[in-house]
Amino acid sequence: MMRPKSTMELVPGDDETYYLNMGPQHPSTHGVLRLRLHLEGERILGAEPVIGYGHRAHEKMAENRDYLQFLPNTSRIDYLSGMIYNLGYCQAIEKAMQIEVPERAEYIRVICAELNRLTSHLLWLGTYLLDLGGFTPFLYAFDDREKLLDILDSVTGSRLTYCYGRFGGVSMDVDDTFLRAAADYCTYFRKRLDEYHALVTHNIIFRHRTKGVGVMGPELALDYGVSGPCLRAAGVARDLRKDEPYGIYDRFAFDIVTAEGGDCFARHMVRMGEMEQSLNIIEQAVGGIPDGPVLAPKVPKRIRPPAGEHYFAVESARGHFGMYLRSDGTDVPVRLKLRTPSFVHVATMPVVLPGTMLADTVAILGSIDIVIPEIDR
């Protein structure tokens, strides 16, 4: 496995070493990541992500609160796919405690999670174009995202930091308006996708900026534990929703979108394809949703997972989100370790960035789609 030497070692400290700080306050480090770039001319010799500017002690917090009280926090770890994290955490606890979730709740969970995945990918598309200098696609993407948020808002009451899941189900039943809105959105968004392709994917400048840039090959990706769209862009068809279906994902027909090349363009294509697959899933789920309760009837008042270790993982918009839980049988976890995708992805930067040009930095950094608190936890 290739391990980058720290960039500090790579460079003897002669008077020509030139460091450029990108971030923490930088329009395209998506929050407060700081990249310390070592440059020669326009070429990057080394890159060192400096993290911790967004550290909010999420994991520590879990040790200070009981299981239920940690719930609202899950959606703040990765605020872009908060719903997936939130529901994932519920599922993890349910698995540990062997709570049965009603059918209807499972369907609602899938719909909401996929809608959330759409919002996340849309936001990525927008900000990525912003990184590349295209302002208008950013606003279009945000506009479409607003429509999605309206749908989600109507049932969860929040736009970003959802706390919708409950152990054993979801906090509120959905009504027909919601389902219809979700289905309508699918039809609408398919049309929009074409526009995005015309405006972005086919754009020659965009292609030139992204093709062959920031190549993350399958070996590198697997070595580092890259997951999600970044891994699939390298041609590896891995998706927890298919490989280890959790919830009721095994009931839906959808494809794992992969692309060849592992470059920024491949990642773009994978995300675009995934949006389409999400639409498929939502349509199927809306069509097949049964009636019934949305909360399991017999949920213990105090959540006390059996002593021992538990692990559960879901596919978030960014990749493999795993929760490793150690319980001593009380209602406060001993340790809750979160395995978050962005952390891994950012760790590949010291190998992916060197050799590229300064201008590629933003293209690459943007394409791996990071969320800072998820890195810093």
Binding site: E16, Y18, N21, M22, Q25, L39, G41, R43, M357
Partner: protein, 124 residues
């Protein structure tokens, strides 16, 4: 020889332009409050302290482009006066040949640079 006053007028406008540029920059000195923060006058670099000087050794490609530019500009500017009289005289064909030769040689320069990969940054 053109009327020098014409150019004097232009020069005056240059100075006026400078004045117009200076005026709005001077006004704030009187009108604006001033900050006295500890780091107000430090280098701006995304909020962290900068390391080392701003000077860097740039890519050689920059220089090569500058160089081709200088030479090209000279060439192109030679064409300008010629363009004014091109084909005027009785030796129109000679003019054509001379000018196309000139442009052809320019072309050679571009082709050479291209072949050498100067025009494609990464190859440098």
């Amino acid at each position: 020889m053109s009327d020098p006053t014409d150019y004097a007028f232009f020069g005056a406008l240059l100075i006026i332009g400078a004045a117009l540029g200076i005026a709005p920059v001077v006004a704030p000195l009187f009108l604006a409050p001033r900050s006295t923060g500890a780091k107000t006058h430090d280098t701006y670099e995304c909020g962290v302290d900068t390391e080392g000087g701003a000077w860097m050794r740039f890519d050689i490609s920059y220089y090569l482009f500058a160089l081709i530019f200088v030479v090209f500009e000279v060439d192109v500017l030679y064409i300008l006066p010629v363009a004014l009289v091109f084909g005027d005289g009785q030796y129109a064909w000679r003019d054509l040949i001379e000018l196309s030769l000139f442009i052809g040689i320019l072309f050679l320069a571009i082709i050479y640079a291209w072949r050498k990969g100067v025009l494609h940054w990464r190859a440098a």
